[in-house]
């Protein structure tokens, strides 16, 4: 091959390579469903600790090392919440949300995203503690797994427990939100928990 032709070809090929590099460095990409809108749920609540205690039999105690022989053993966890989401009357989610951590002893986190068509939507959201009977931290020996009854007035003990929950920063047992949400294409509406208001709130960018 002629030397000049070779140099020219080398320059052309190098130029094509560089152009390809630049082109592949910024390829226009459109997300699938980019014309949708998103309803985003994200919050963190501090649940209440519920625990089950059982009395060990003398035989069971015998098997334990002497320094671990406690007559009553209690295992605790943070009570789960039920998340129920309806958009325009259609149930998008109805699930139990457990507390984080291998022992479910961390706060309860919610992070969900729902794609919806642009427009106005009626969003109804319910987040209700399941089980626990409202026993506060360190309370509630024995049982405690039966569902909390929101329609009954709190007993004196429960009322005291409620005060303690406030002190400990525990979140309400029931959170709900019902609102009309107007979304344009590409919009994200965030529903989150406001600890000041102790309620779910809708936030927009």
């Amino acid at each position: 091959m002629n030397a000049a032709l070779r140099v020219a070809l080398a320059v052309i090929v190098t130029g094509i390579g560089l152009a390809a590099l630049a082109a592949l460095s910024a390829v226009p990409y459109r997300e699938p469903g980019a014309g949708d809108a998103v309803l985003r749920l994200s919050w963190r609540v501090r649940g209440i600790r519920v625990q089950e205690c059982r009395t060990l039999t003398p035989e069971q105690l015998e098997k334990l090392p002497p320094h671990m022989r406690r007559p009553e053993v209690c295992e605790g966890r943070i009570a789960p919440y039920r998340l129920h989401v309806r958009v325009d009357g259609r149930v998008l989610q109805d699930t139990l949300v457990h507390a984080a951590g291998a022992r479910e002893d961390r706060p309860v986190y919610v992070f969900r995203e729902f794609r919806v068509a642009p427009g106005v939507h009626r969003v109804a959201l319910l987040f209700v503690r399941e089980g626990g009977r409202g026993k506060g931290r360190g309370e509630g020996k024995g049982g405690g797994e039966e569902g909390e009854r929101q329609d009954e007035p709190p007993t004196r003990d429960e009322a005291h427990g409620g005060e303690r929950r406030e002190r400990n920063g525990e979140s309400p047992a029931r959170l709900e939100l019902e609102a009309d949400v107007s979304l344009e294409a590409g919009d994200v509406a965030l529903i989150t928990y406001d600890p000041q208001q102790r309620a779910l709130v809708l936030r927009r960018g």
């Binding site: 070779r6 080398a10 590099l21 630049a22 592949l24 460095s25 910024a26 706060p107 986190y109």
Partner: protein
Amino acid sequence: MHTTTPAPRHASWRILARLDAWANRLYGARWNPLYHSGAIVVALLLVLLATGLYLLVFYRLGAPWASVARITEQAWLGRWIRGLHRFSSDAVVVAVAVHAFRMYAQRRSWGPRALAWVSGVVLLAVIFVCGWTGYVMVWDVQAQLLAVEGARFLDVLPIFSEPISRTFVGERPLPSAFFFLNLFAHIALPIGLILLLWLHVSRVARPVLLPSRPLLWGLVGALILLAVLRPVGMAPEANLFRLPDRVPLDLFYAFWLPLTRRLPAWSVWAVGGVLALVVVLVPLWTRPRPEARPAKSVVNERACTGCEQCMLDCPFDAITMVERTDGRAGMVARVNPDRCVSCGICIGSCAPMAIGPVGRTGRDQLALVRAFVERERPRARDVVVIGCEWSAARHDAALGGAPLFSLPCAGNVHTSSIEAMLRGGAGGVLVVACPARDCRSREGPRWLDQRVWHGREAELQERVDRRRVRVVEAAGAEPGVLAAALRAFRDDVAALAAPGDDDAADLIRLCRARGEDPDLEEAS
């Protein structure tokens, strides 16, 4: 002849050889960037380091997008430095891909080379993570996608009590701590790259870490030119309350993103894990069957003179000198089989033919040459070819009927074999090597050249007429180069006086005058 490697017939090697041949025609074998892919990676990482330091001066954790936008507005400096940083990072991925493909296609990935392969895969992973953090630093819409997608993947791991994804919901402004951590990772990971790079080349005696200067500056100049002519723009700032619409995606680092967006995170981990495993295990599934694996080099301690030449020549630091154990004074060579790749470079470095893979020592080679000469009976006008089996010598058509003595590497040629062929009646010996930067054994053509022309041990004896010896570099897919060289050499040999009685008599007289036995085997 013996082979040390699977014959170069697999598709990946044929593709690579074809690409090499095209690049050789354009750039010449010396400046062929495909041959320098590994060194180009290091050069580009240095460019990234230099340009990254400049960008760091102007980067603000509290206003990432705005600070990058300000850099981009610096028409004279910042804009093209940012472009150079960007395009260099992209070119790194290309160079790594070419380098990995070369190692795979040439089966330079198993045995003692497995460490380099595996560390190379980890290097690539770290480079990807560096790129990821680099793009997040800009905090534009692409950064938003990468950050959100990365958080989604991390949330699958059962190690975070709070979902990482909640960082990017827009509940509160992203804290500077996030950008600080990201910046820290972007700076700290390259330090890890240095350590990995050291590990990557730790089994190579003389690693080539930078390409030759013309190629280095040509590459940097081309990337600067690209950065000036095609400035990197600013995508819209990330907005967590908006879905990114049209995102300028860098496919070198985010090629996976369009594929993973609709997949569950666990399936991405599963597919990614399987792919990573397949790549990491390349050394296992590319190695030959046990019976087909080449023998490691061994030392005949009785014949070893302790000259150290094999140790100096070994491209893989597999040979050390140790005290003799046979009662004689001095040192003797010892091969570390864990580092020996059976390249056979030591065969040609040992004048007394005391070292080499079992069955491939200089003595074995000389015996085969004698049998070859006996069989072929070359005449005074004939040229015989000694060819690396990975070079163009594998093409019968390129040989034009010349007898071929094939070896696994041109660096295996013992100069006594060349002499024996000429003494056996051949008019000329053409040694066909791969281009120097393409040698599977790293330094075969380099040492061959030194041994034939520059007196490196074991040198071609002075008594050998150099006009009758020629070395040509012709890559595996360059039969035309070999054919042309062979034609020219044949013409030159034909023009020489036949190595008749006078020449032979001269050689014999010369040997006797030096007190050497003209019989080659005894002289060796």
